[in-house]
């Protein structure tokens, strides 16, 4: 494993390519890195080149892994519906009987959905609108859009909320705490343990956030199939739009 390059927030090129661990990537993200690709191909990697092209666009298009042909979209309006949706998703994607794979997918779906419900929406004073220990029915216009699809190469999952509150700083500090401060990974907060996004990032191959501040957040993930997955091949992308 190579030494991770130091991220320079003043550099024009926001894309960092190399072969890193997710722990090393977490440090870069905590330092403000927004586009990180760990690959054996360096800047010649197809996905990294795609990101490079997207950096100059006002409205970045989806990465190729987000374009699964049989993708489904389901609206979720309450916390009580989430387990039913997760089960349905694993059945729809044909992985329900594949225990190992479906456990991973269920974990990713549950953490993203839970984050969407309990962290995306705020009161006027900035406090969380919905308490983690309560059963929640989202108001009109707040429903989450959950998308999922499977191909031979892997699974695509995305969860979109209508709050737009997930910041790079929140992600960076959560990742840093969980990878570097392993005696204090867990937060004693009534809204959650602070582990959810870390668990998702650790499980997936590609992780992308599209933030429209105050409007919506789309968190998208790709879980590579077992023959393709490699712990050192992954990407992290954070696009902030309308900034």
């Amino acid at each position: 494993m190579s030494t991770a390059p130091k991220f320079d927030p003043n550099a024009n090129d926001q894309l960092i390519c190399g072969l890193f661990s997710k722990k090393e990537a977490a440090q870069m993200i905590a330092d403000g890195g927004t586009h990180i690709h760990s690959t054996t191909m360096g800047y010649r990697d197809e996905m990294a080149r795609f990101t490079s092209a997207l950096l100059n666009e006002k409205n970045p298009e989806p990465h190729p892994w987000q374009l699964v042909t049989n993708c489904r979209e389901v609206s979720l309006g309450s916390s009580g519906e989430r387990y039913k949706l997760i089960k349905r998703a694993t059945v729809d994607m044909g992985i329900f009987s594949r225990r190992g794979y479906s456990e991973k997918v269920e974990c990713v779906l549950e953490e993203l959905i839970t984050n969407g419900i309990y962290h995306a929406y705020a009161n006027a004073d900035g406090s969380h609108k919905y308490r983690r220990d309560s059963s929640v029915k989202l108001e009109d216009g707040e429903a989450l859009k959950v998308r999922y699809g499977a191909s031979q190469e892997g699974i695509f999952i995305s969860v979109e909320d209508q709050g737009g509150r997930l910041s790079l700083e929140d992600i960076g500090s959560a990742f840093y705490r969980c990878y570097y401060n392993q005696d204090n990974q867990i937060v004693e907060d009534e809204q959650g343990s602070g582990l959810g996004l870390y668990m998702v990032f650790d499980l997936v191959t590609h992780f992308r956030v599209d933030l429209y501040p105050g409007k919506r957040t789309v968190v998208s993930c790709w879980i590579a199939g077992r023959r393709i997955a490699h712990p050192s091949i992954f990407s992290f992308n954070f696009f902030k739009r309308g900034a």
């Binding site: 387990y83 039913k84 997760i86 089960k87 594949r98 225990r99 190992g100 794979y101 456990e103 269920e106 974990c107 779906l109 549950e110 953490e111 839970t114 983690r132 220990d133 969980c178 392993q182 005696d183 990974q185 867990i186 004693e188 959650g192 343990s193 602070g194 582990l195 959810g196 870390y198 668990m199 650790d202 077992r226 023959r227 997955a229 490699h230 712990p231």
Partner: protein, 153 residues
Amino acid sequence: MLLDNKFNLKKKFEDGREVIYISGNLDEDARFDEVRKDQPLVFDMRGIVGVNSCGVRNWVNFMRDHKNQPITFRHCSPAIVHQMNMVPSFKGHAQVFSIYVPYACSHCDAEDRVFLDLVKGAREAPTKVPCKNCKVGKMEIDGDEQQYFAFAA
């Protein structure tokens, strides 16, 4: 993570000692109130199928509250092993006696789990095992072996 996999805790006496079987999803609803604080604890974890982030916190708090008792984990399912690797305090001061290692067939994609007794010195999982499903292919460890055994380092 599913509705029909609610967390469950059962105690059984085996060979003169209490063994605590936990199963289902380890989540925010998991409760450990009935676990005693005055004896060594043995947890059988083969039945845990999923662990969410709040379940991790519940468990880590439980481990902290019982830090003065010897604790043993046995028959740890892959869901438990993944958590021990991601969150070191999940294992805490416990000794891990045995785990299940996930395998997948390179020929038919079938999955299986191989039991590994760490006490008897079996520190390494077999590289390949015959597939019971297709009887043609060989099963290999599903995932990165080094990562899977990181908790034991």
